[in-house]
Subunit: 685 residues, 2 copies
């Protein structure tokens, strides 16, 4: 493929537009957009398939900018190719309320696939997008119907490669032989601290070879468009390996300071921008000036993309006739609908049913939903037998050549890679045909905190199956026993944290998690057996909190979650028998869902006039929101059989009763005792 003047004009337009926008905002990163303009031009204009008028077309090629600080590059491209992002939007780069925030956010901007900026996340998201493509293709493609055959392209820099999450995802992608994944590594030798030789001297391509990637080096990424073109073309032909193209570039190409860390994260000076414009043949006095030839040229590419989608729509229409069942199923998934009546499969329990660990209850649910919700794609970070995340008949998602599964498999072996798993799940969710869930111990969801945060910020429906949820895991001890973990996740906006107390509550957790299209869920599950509660039903539990034991004339409300609800119920009996004290119990499996209920309901659960004591075997932090006094564990746990550990910390009917009585005494003198549901003012949301 030969490249000429028009190509250079396009490339230089991206450069000056990006520099202008950063300067206009007086904030941002001009270096990466200027250095990566050539490859982005070649990729978007020659290789990528997309329709700017419909950023949701399922068979579009995906593009991920893992070095998200370079987002002016992406915003420039989206604008120039005709996405719903105006020149005015670019002029409001990094301003409050704009569609062009400081880092790309999927929930805010058309054409942004995933939220990036926290380094390494985009890399792993792209692996998830590629897995989703391979899986969806295996499910739906038929002879003559390559319904789903898109590629996933990603850009990433030295920073992404230094992050462990990228290592985890890269090793996974190599193992999975994801030939549909093409990564372009911006080898510019610069990070914020200066030359990368101060901290990053590994042989990147050798490392990727060790993971099983196909490796290419383009030595002149600034000028050699043909070499860039050839590299991408070669990568597309490699079907059994992901490809990394190491592209040696000059950061801030065109600037007087090109090749230095000074162009990385600060606006260029006005005189520098003028000199760049002169160098590239632009009017140095004009800002945000786009040559019409560029709009026209890119407009043609966009038109081809629109035509491709139209062609695809016809293919899909034909497919729906020939394969009505699959066609209906795919259409349903694309509409974001769950199968009709799926919720009937959720198990319910009576109080006479045996005590069962909630991780086991979760297994039963996943098993029952497996045949009914085909878009559920599960996995675990090497704890399948502990997290109980795998349906019996599940096939592993594996390259067929391994003999361990195939591309249609719905169970992913993530290995011991929690952070990578979570970010891959974000990519799976972003693709549009899959609902991902993944298991690990609750304590090690913390390893994935960076990705969980982006599940929430990006509105991804991702389910974190988080077993071994407390000191109740026993012998593994303090290194594995969460104390701060639920407080952390409860403090995260747009994240549901469930800690079900029994079977019906566990079903409720999955019900809400699955119908909440724009919110991730962390479901904390016990290792130990839990009794089935008398008053629990799915209908009650889906309100996030409900009365588990009502008692006329109650002197104290015990509010609790998960494994402690049953102990609180025992404490009610103990209090009555030993102290003639009347107590009631509230189960609060999900704070966020309870918060969303009408105030009257919440006040009926936590009424005025009765002091409330919270009981949970982890930090008390945050429980003041729902209670007057708190019984918890503001220290690390202990290694031992779980009943001994519970006894050591007094999480017994006696221990709870002692504190319930102290609570009643202490609050006697206050009038009125107001439910904490009452607040002086509403929170900003």
């Amino acid at each position: 493929m030969s490249y000429g003047e028009l190509d250079n004009l396009c490339i230089n337009t991206i450069r000056v537009l990006s520099a202008d926008a950063v300067a206009n905002a007086n904030s941002g990163h001009p270096g990466a957009p200027m250095g990566m303009a050539p490859v982005s031009h070649v990729l978007f204009n020659r290789f990528m398939r997309f329709n700017p008028k419909n950023p949701d077309w399922i068979n579009r090629d995906r593009f991920v900018l893992s070095n998200g600080h370079g987002c002016m590059l992406q915003y420039s491209l989206l604008h120039l190719f005709g996405y719903d992002l105006s020149l005015d939007d670019l002029k409001h780069f990094r301003q409050v309320g704009s569609k062009t925030p400081g880092h790309p956010e999927a929930a805010d901007t058309p054409g942004i696939e995933v939220t990036t900026g926290p380094l390494g996340q985009g890399f792993a998201n792209a692996v998830g997008l590629a897995i989703a493509q391979a899986h969806t293709a295996a499910i739906y493609n038929k002879p003559g119907y390559d319904l789903v055959d898109n590629y996933t392209y990603m850009f990433f820099g030295d920073g992404c490669l230094m992050e462990g999450i990228a290592s985890e995802a890269a090793s996974t992608a190599g193992h999975l032989q994801l030939g549909n994944l093409i990564g372009i590594y911006d080898d510019n030798h610069i990070s914020i601290d200066g030359n990368t030789n101060c901290a990053f001297t590994e042989d990147v391509l050798k490392r990727f070879e060790s993971y099983g990637w196909h490796c290419i080096h383009v030595t002149d990424g600034d000028n050699d468009l043909s070499a860039i073109d050839a590299a991408i073309a070669e990568a597309k032909t490699v079907k059994d390996k992901p490809t990394i193209i190491k592209l040696t570039t000059t950061i801030g190409y065109g600037s007087k300071l090109q090749g230095t860390h000074e162009v990385h994260g600060s606006p260029l000076k006005a005189d520098d921008i003028k000199s760049i414009k002169e160098k590239f043949g632009f009017d140095p006095e004009k800002k945000f000036d786009v040559p019409s030839a560029v709009y026209e040229h890119y407009g043609e590419t966009a038109a081809k993309g629109a035509a491709a989608e139209e062609e695809w729509n016809q293919l899909f229409a034909k497919y729906q006739k020939e394969y009505p069942e699959e066609g209906k199923d795919l259409a349903r998934r694309l509409a974001g609908k769950l199968p009709e009546g799926w919720e009937k499969a959720l198990p319910t329990y009576k109080s006479t049913d045996p005590a069962i660990a909630s991780r086991k209850l979760s297994e039963t649910i996943l098993q029952k939903l497996y045949p009914i919700i085909p878009e559920l794609v599960g996995g675990s970070a090497d704890l399948t037998g502990s997290n109980l995340t795998r349906a019996k008949e599940a096939v592993d998602f594996q390259p067929p050549s391994t003999g361990l599964g195939d591309w249609s498999g719905r169970y992913i072996r993530y290995g011991v890679r929690e952070h990578g798993m979570a970010a891959i799940m974000n990519g799976l969710a972003a693709y549009g045909t899959i609902i991902p869930y993944g298991g690990t111990f609750l304590n090690f969801v913390s390893y994935a905190a960076g990705a969980l945060r982006l599940s929430a910020l990006s509105h991804h429906r991702v389910i974190y199956v988080s077993t071994h949820d407390s000191i109740g895991l026993g012998e593994d001890g303090p290194t594995h026993q969460p104390i701060e973990t639920l407080a952390h996740f409860r403090a995260l906006p747009n994240c549901m944290v469930w800690r079900p107390a029994d079977g019906n509550e566990t079903s409720a957790a999955y019900y809400i998690a699955l119908i909440s299209k724009h919110t991730p869920s962390v479901i904390a599950l016990s290792r130990q057996n839990l009794p089935q509660l008398e008053n629990s039903t799915i209908e009650r539990a889906i309100k996030g909190g409900y009365v588990a034991v009502e008692s006329e004339g109650a002197q104290v409300t015990l509010i609790s979650t998960g494994s402690e609800v049953g102990i609180c119920i025992d404490a009610v009996k103990y209090l009555k028998e030993k102290h003639n004290v009347v107590a009631r119990v509230v189960s609060l499996p999900c704070w966020e869902v309870f918060d969303a209920q009408p105030k009257e309901y919440k006040l009926s659960v936590l009424p005025d006039g009765i002091p409330i004591l919270s009981v949970e075997v982890m930090t008390t932090l945050g429980w003041e929101k729902y209670s007057h006094e708190q019984f918890g564990l503001n220290r690390f746990g202990a290694s031992g059989p779980y009943k001994d550990v519970y006894a050591k910390f007094e999480f017994t009917p006696e221990g709870i009763s002692k504190r319930a009585i102290a609570t009643i005494e202490f609050w006697k003198e206050v009038t009125p005792i107001r439910s904490p549901i009452n607040r002086a003012f509403a929170q900003l949301i």
Copy 2:
């Protein structure tokens, strides 16, 4: 070196002892101890230098079991070599209150260097220990005085290698050419999910070659003791690279189920243990049976270690005479004392001093302490110019061959590797001669959550310099703006979280962080300028909370931290002028330190009778502990200039005043208004 019957007896003793202890606990991991018994025997008996009677001897070789679930291996070794760990302690493996918890904990057990179990952490800790050795040697060794020349050995498994944190640390170790670091990779092909071929098929040695490691493969780790010996001996001769020895072993060697994942994490059956004992020539009916020949043999090794320490003590005595200054300094460090009068260097400020960003205040402190506290070793995860963590005259810690620094350098370029940095700092702190601090944006300390947790659990004095602490960072937007972060860290036991409001508070934060030998500190610092407060002094701030504005007849207390304290003080004026409302302000830079003050003091800061409103630009979760009403941000932030962002969310004198008035109104009807300092019962600690 030739090995014989006695060696096999030692090895098999480790195996059966470990299997017995796991079976006795009915919980634990027999597979790794049985598979790694041969290499541990060769390493501990032939190569390692240690004195079991003094586990703190500074020049001991360090041993890290990164695959901490195999801790019965380590406990068996510590017992057999004569550390203060009895056979009875082994019989109480995984019991409440024992010295043998389910995973190794440095704070609990003599001879355990670092707390491991969460996979990958130990690997990175070992890199920190090796850096500490190289640095300490460069500072103190003199011709004829190799005072510090120990090696760091680590064991790790497939699980550790899959974790991103190990990749980060391995790349760093390779860059730093740490010839004193020798890692032994237990290549047993098994993880919990079964054969590693389901998720982990990378070429490990090639990967480590790419990082710059020396690589060796021992193909028969079960039997070929001479090859193991030769590999370790070879590794010790490689001075300019860390070494990885890939040791192919059989997990659970000797068991009927050897080589399967069934021996990984469950006790062996009684008949299996009997058959193992018969196979190895032990009495199948006896449990915890140690042949006296083993005690004797290992006792000789231990005696050699004791002699080596004695020799070292004499060398150090001589050194102290010849190099009195260095000798005194090292002795001081080993005693865990800071230089006399160091705190006088902490800067103080008057309210007339200009407004300064607290990250900049932190820089001034670090600059002033640099010449005074030589054990301060800093660094940043590639954000030096933003975190402001480097003293002007600092030399980088780099291999001299790079030309970028030397081994005596006190500034570490961690690269974009937050999790690795934190775990390396844990290793630096564990070594015993260094106080580490490291910088990143507060939001990305979350990437390091797994390691921060272990800083706290292991009682490491590590300082997390955490800049860009809120929406006040402005344009970078929601991906970089912490919301849940401080709540997370405040919920973590044994972790101090500081958010200073001005210069004196920043000095106070460093003062307490440095004198707290057994607790990590997260110091959250602003990007934007903060005014110097009228009533702030170091003396007041080191109480964790104090009255920043007292007002007679106050109707409301505003309690706040960091950048919002100054806005609260402005709100006091606004309330008086516009509404004739009298308010007072409390600054609470560190909850944990405030909590430790006497109750009378706390009640003087947060007195009864006045409702309290908390103000902090992040989650309100947890603030109920100190306030009746909370003004915060329970949603993600926004990208824009920081003043616009603050205005959008109403963190202005007006916005605070509105809520203060609502608070006063709302609490009028309650009597008494009790300070939240009053509680019904004391928490367990």
